[in-house]
């Protein structure tokens, strides 16, 4: 039996008096694992640990079979890792090309020509070849996120850790992102943190839902949708005792929970299952 690419076991982490992770456990292997959860659920903390930039207070973590707590093994992980942080920082006076080239140097690509070829390749992948000579400070927010994604793709890493990569991207860019990531997921492991349930439904064969530092759900998107099976109704009115309810585009109310009178039972989505799991906290964020 092969060892999973990512093994997370009983991970705990606190920042001063705030408990960010309270014993998270899950494994991930080749393919895309989507991490869903409201703000403060602990997703970013966990992803930073997977990216070897944050150490847990307790628990076991292994990536690609190595322990990030040991210097040599941490280096081995970093050589095969691509990481896009939630809030990627840039040297704003660099051009897009120079910035990705800078990260390529950090990734030990010393040969100038080979490195530049690789930089051109990833910039083309994210559709930025036309603006590679433009300064980062002159790029839009969506373009900057694509620059951040490009640097993560350098060297075709075995493990891609992407923290909210689609935030700020327009629908076309999100589709392009799905294309890029899905192409890489056949024999590589991608950990994708997102607020977008559509991304999870479209991309991930596996989804982990987190809330308040714990794992609430671990399964397929269909299984997550099934959490709400038999509990999603379309009705002319809002059900007074519905768990969650909102008015849809066609004027009817989508009610999650008990059925109002004359309601039509409908097929649940990943979003319905997610909202039912995490409750009003996530709903409030979506509404905001």
């Amino acid at each position: 039996m092969s060892i999973p690419t990512v093994q997370v076991s009983g991970i705990e982490k606190s920042f001063l008096r705030t408990r960010a992770l309270a014993g998270v456990t899950f494994d991930a292997d080749a393919g895309i694992t989507g991490m869903l959860g409201p703000n403060g659920a602990g997703k970013t903390t966990l992803l930073r640990m997977m990216a070897t930039v944050l150490a847990p207070d307790a628990g076991q973590l292994r990536m690609l079979g190595w322990d990030p707590g040991k210097p040599d093994e941490r280096l081995a992980i970093r050589r095969r890792l691509g990481y896009m942080p939630q809030e990627p920082g840039f040297h704003r006076n660099f051009t897009a090309f120079e910035f990705v080239d800078y990260v390529a140097i950090l990734k030990e690509m010393v040969d100038r020509r080979a490195r530049h070829d690789e930089v051109r390749r990833v910039l083309e992948l994210v559709g930025l070849e036309g603006v590679s000579g433009r300064k980062i400070k002159a790029l839009s927010g969506g373009m900057r996120r694509r620059v951040a994604l490009a640097q993560a793709l350098l060297g075709d890493p075995d493990l891609l850790v992407l923290d909210e990569p689609t935030a700020g991207l327009d629908p076309e860019q999100r589709l392009r992102f799905r294309e890029i990531v899905s192409e890489r997921s056949t024999d590589r492991t991608v950990i994708l943190s997102t607020h977008q349930t559509e991304d999870v439904a479209a991309l991930c064969p596996r989804v982990v839902v987190m809330n308040e530092g714990r794992t609430l759900f671990d399964g397929t998107p269909k299984e997550l949708a099934d959490v709400a099976r038999g509990r999603v109704w379309l009705a002319a009115e809002r059900a007074p005792d519905a768990h969650l309810s909102w008015r849809t585009g066609d004027g009817r109310h989508r009610n999650i929970g008990s059925a109002p009178s004359g309601a039509e039972l409908v097929e649940p989505t990943v979003e319905d299952g997610y909202l039912l799991l995490v409750g009003t906290k996530a709903f409030d964020e979506e509404a905001a």
Partner: protein
């Protein structure tokens, strides 16, 4: 219309790059005008070599022109990848270097503008304290959480953070030293005191780096700055000699600080690779 055609041997020699320059130029002029020879030269050309040449052309045309600092470093003999790593150092930017020059300029101005011996001494004292501190600030903002915008991405990459920090620290120390040396030339009555900041500067910077294995770099630098200014002021105003901390005893103390800091940094260098703790 051309009346002659190059033979296969001549074309092969040209395509492989073996033809001398004068004949190659002559043949190239002919190739521009002769369809048949242009077609023939394709058949004798090595595809791998053509790809290599094309890659070189692409590289020369597409590679963006680096910025001022980076170009300057390359001209000084720094390798291009190292120049890019240094160009990303916040404290090697022209704005930071300008601020350093300004701080030194004010201290030199104060020393020169003073009309009394006491005033000149005070100006010199301020210059020495400031010159010793400059690299501490520069190194603190060179790399680390909150300072380097790409810190997390750098940390997650295989390049050792310790190596990157030391490279940048050396560059910052070098530029600060050059600036302070130039400023010292403008001090009134150039003597030993003009370079008395050198060891303190190295000592404070190394102490700050040693502390950074436990604290955030900016907190470490702030602590060192506070201690340095306090000690310098107390030493200057408690005795008759304002410069006591820069004389033999003080310099010897800084040698000890440098040795101790180097020991701590070497022992705890792995702390720079472990990432942020908060």
């Amino acid at each position: 219309m051309t009346t002659w055609h190059a033979d296969t041997m001549l074309l092969s020699s040209y395509a492989s790059g073996a033809l001398d320059q004068a004949r190659a130029y002559s043949l190239e002029a002919h190739l521009l005008a002769c369809d048949r020879c242009r077609a023939d030269v394709v058949g004798v050309s090595d595809q791998e070599q053509l790809d290599r040449i094309w890659a070189e052309v692409t590289e020369a045309v597409d590679a963006p022109r680096p910025g001022v600092v980076e170009r300057g470093l390359v001209r000084l003999g720094v390798r291009d990848h190292l120049a890019r790593l240094l160009a990303a150092t916040p404290s090697l930017r022209l704005s930071w270097l300008g601020a350093e020059a300004l701080a030194l300029g004010f201290a030199v101005l104060a020393a020169n503008a003073a009309v009394t011996e006491g005033g000149r001494e005070l100006g010199m004292f301020v210059f020495l304290v400031v010159a010793a501190l400059l690299p501490v600030g520069g190194v603190a903002v060179a790399y680390g959480p909150g300072m380097d915008p790409t810190y997390e991405v750098s940390l997650a990459s295989p390049m050792r953070s310790f190596g990157l920090l030391m490279t940048r620290a050396a560059a910052v120390l070098g530029t600060s030293t050059v600036l302070a040396c130039l400023a010292a030339l403008a001090l009134p009555g150039l003597d030993w005191a003009a370079v008395a900041w050198l060891l303190p500067s190295l000592g404070l910077t190394s102490a700050s780096l040693a502390l950074a294995t436990r604290l955030r770099p900016l907190v470490a630098a702030g602590s060192v700055t506070f201690v340095w200014v306090t000690v310098a002021l107390v030493a200057a105003y408690r005795g008759d000699d304002r410069f006591v901390i820069f004389r033999g005893g003080g310099q010897a103390a800084f040698l000890v600080v440098i040795a101790l800091s180097a020991f701590v940094i070497a022992r705890r260098r792995e702390a720079f690779e472990q990432g942020v703790t908060e």
